[in-house]
Amino acid sequence: MTYGQLFLILLAMVMFSTIYLTTYNSLFDQADLAYKGMYLLNGQKVTDKFFQEIESKILGQILSFDNLESAYNNFSDSITVSDVVYHVNISTTPCTQTGADTTTVNPEFIRVDMSIWGIHPDSDTLWIGMPSAPISKVFVDLFY
């Protein structure tokens, strides 16, 4: 066997390995996407839990609308679902009909911004709403 033939065989093996690795890599990427979707879905349920909590407390007059801002501004909590710890950060912003207005003493609306992050079992950090682009809900003072 000449050196040329040996080189061609080695080249073929390298190319074959590349195709093999690329195929498996793309498959695992897709599987990872599917699993991340599951964790993101659970994270969305966590955001829904906190929005429901706020809404119920206001409806039940356990929390007055005026105290919503102070009670939930810079609020943090952690919830574990399927071995993933979801870290919740909530901030509030007083609003008028035209949008955010921090100068309003008794706001008619309060925007609640939520961002959640969790550590994926593969050590990737998952964000469900980010501090720069949070999941938001605006609450209105029914007795304004």
Binding site: Y20, N42, K49, E55, S56
Partner: protein, 182 residues
């Protein structure tokens, strides 16, 4: 003689390559099927959870008292009325065992035919945790104001050419009973 040895070696190496390719194809097929079914399971479980959430939003609607009838770790029975003063409707959501397999189902007004389900669950099944207004767990039924429901759906992906594998999806929801807060 050396030509014969070279031919044997080439056949062996070629055979190894062929086996690798066939194994890869089988693995790719198995991963593809499982992945597809995992996505389907997530979509289906999300649909089921949406319906369960709509059921739970009825808790205590139109009834002045005894909205929550029975609570256990694996089932929840409550009542509501379509309008104030009309007959109470009773809903039971919970886990049951059919053919040695845990199933999630909802029943309306004591019917033996489920109005939702049954849906196959894993051995984990379903778990209810009840909370009072101050988020203390497991209060008396009359003090319950919210529920945390965790369930793990399961899908048997058995195929003759791929073998048996269970795909699971655990999902947790919270429901605050707004009617009981009013």
């Amino acid at each position: 003689m050396s030509a014969l040895l070279e031919a044997i070696a080439a056949t062996l190496i070629g055979g190894i390559f062929m086996l690798t390719i066939i194994t890869s194809i089988i693995n790719i097929q198995a991963i593809g099927v499982n992945l597809n079914q995992q996505i389907e399971l997530v979509e289906t479980s999300e649909d089921i959870v949406s319906v369960i959430e709509s059921y739970l939003s009825f808790v205590g609607a139109g009834v002045a008292d005894s909205a929550i009838i029975n609570t256990t770790d694996s089932s929840f029975t409550f009542s509501y009325a379509d309008s104030i003063g009309s007959a109470r409707r009773i809903i039971n959501i919970g886990e049951e065992t059919i053919n040695d397999s845990k199933q999630l189902a909802a029943y309306r007004d004591g019917s033996t035919i489920p109005s939702l389900g049954p849906f196959q669950l894993s051995d984990y099944g379903v778990e209810f945790v009840y909370y009072d207004v101050n988020e203390n767990p497991n209060p008396a039924d009359s003090l319950i104001r919210s529920v945390q429901m965790t369930m793990e759906f399961e899908y048997d992906t058995y195929r003759e050419d791929i073998d048996r594998r269970f795909i699971r999806h655990r999902i947790r929801i919270w429901k605050y009973f707004k009617n009981l807060y009013l």
